[in-house]
Symmetry: C2
Subunit: 235 residues, 2 copies
């Protein structure tokens, strides 16, 4: 089932924008009244609080059904490259801590939506946090180390996002707020095409599969880590 | 085989001190000339560089066989508790980024030791980085969420350490520097006894098993995540 309200971070381009287009299938103008643009800087707590106030005005007593944490960065970082605490901290701050704090800040709106649901129904149409993770979050699947792009900091951050989501999924189970993590695939975005490569799939292919899988989320998926087709990825 | 030189972080108390006692079995005085005390603040790059210079003076051309990253913090953090970017960042800075930067900074000494080894022998007696992780790093094994102690930030940080170690293990394989992660068990330290509980095992029991397992590390263990008895823990 599709959620009635969705808040997507990092929606100005790439996969985030693709998800907006997929949720609002016949979107043809930025003035479409189903679409509300909210400015947010996930490195700034006050900005997150301000965004909360704006979203609350839009969704009102219905609450927010789906928080879709998509914003992220991939700063090159190699084991044998330049040592930079600042670069690594920036990556962890945006990808993990930003995601944690947005999720915590938006809990009251998610709880409100969850309370409108009935019985033991779980899903993105009731209340859910979906984190855009990465195949690179998989520790067991890590076979190329820092790789050609310098994915050390990014891989650490996305493994951290998986543990964040798993932990929150347990903490929020009583509220029937579902939490799940997805790898969007290797997508033709600015990030996906880094290093002069061409990624495997289009933004539309990724977003279409993701939205389809998100709409299928049930209680059994709580805390899980999936590819865009809802197939389990080993941690 | 036991390493000829070991640098242990966070060795002033708890498991770190236990590991020092275990490596130097008949240690009875801080003036024992096999023991060198090095001051280090793993949140400070300059302090890490200074420590490197001191360790280099001690080990000389032999290089450093084993870097044992043990220092860590467990600040309480709950999904439904106070939102604090500072607390979460501090935990990730010490546990993940400090571990990454020490490991990178000490690479020249580890490479030197590795170069003295011969053929395809891998082990802590040649060159290794061992990271003290936690059972709480296991994402698949996470069944209690933030738990009674507020382990959200800590769990994220230790999952990140596992991915850091796995990534480095691949990046450093050509140099025959082994990287492995260990859960020390639930140990009677200040951290282990938090919340007024008494942990399951003594520091001596943990350190004894860890040192035994570290001495058994071989090529096949590179990148792995183990309990103190060298049994694989699922990520």
């Amino acid at each position: 089932m599709y959620p009635a309200s969705v808040f997507i971070t990092g929606a100005n381009r790439g996969i985030g924008l693709g998800l907006v287009r997929e949720f609002l299938k016949d979107l043809n103008a930025i003035t479409d009244n189903r679409l509300k643009i909210v400015k947010i800087d996930i490195e700034c707590d006050q900005s997150i609080k301000d965004a909360y106030v704006q979203v609350e005005k839009v969704v009102g007593d219905s609450g927010l059904n789906l928080l879709l944490n998509n914003a992220g960065v991939l700063p090159p970082y190699f084991t044998k490259g330049e040592i930079s605490r600042e670069t690594m901290m920036k990556c962890l701050n945006v990808n993990i801590v930003g995601t944690a704090i947005i999720s915590q800040t938006f809990l009251p709106l998610l709880k409100k939506a969850a309370a409108h649901g009935s019985g033991d129904h779980w899903g993105a149409d009731r209340a859910a946090i979906v984190n855009i993770s990465s195949f690179w979050a998989s520790i067991s699947g890590n076979e190329d180390g820092s790789g050609v792009l310098g994915s050390l900091a990014y891989k650490i951050s996305k493994s951290g996002v998986n543990q964040l989501g798993k932990t929150m999924s347990i903490d929020l189970a009583d509220d029937k707020i579902l939490v799940a993590q997805f790898c969007p695939g290797w997508v033709q975005t600015e990030m996906g095409n880094m290093g002069g490569r061409t990624a495997a799939i289009t933004v539309e292919e990724s977003a279409s599969a993701l939205v389809d899988s998100i709409s299928k989320l049930q209680k059994q998926h709580n805390g899980g880590y999936y590819d865009r087709h809802l197939k389990v990825i080993p941690y």
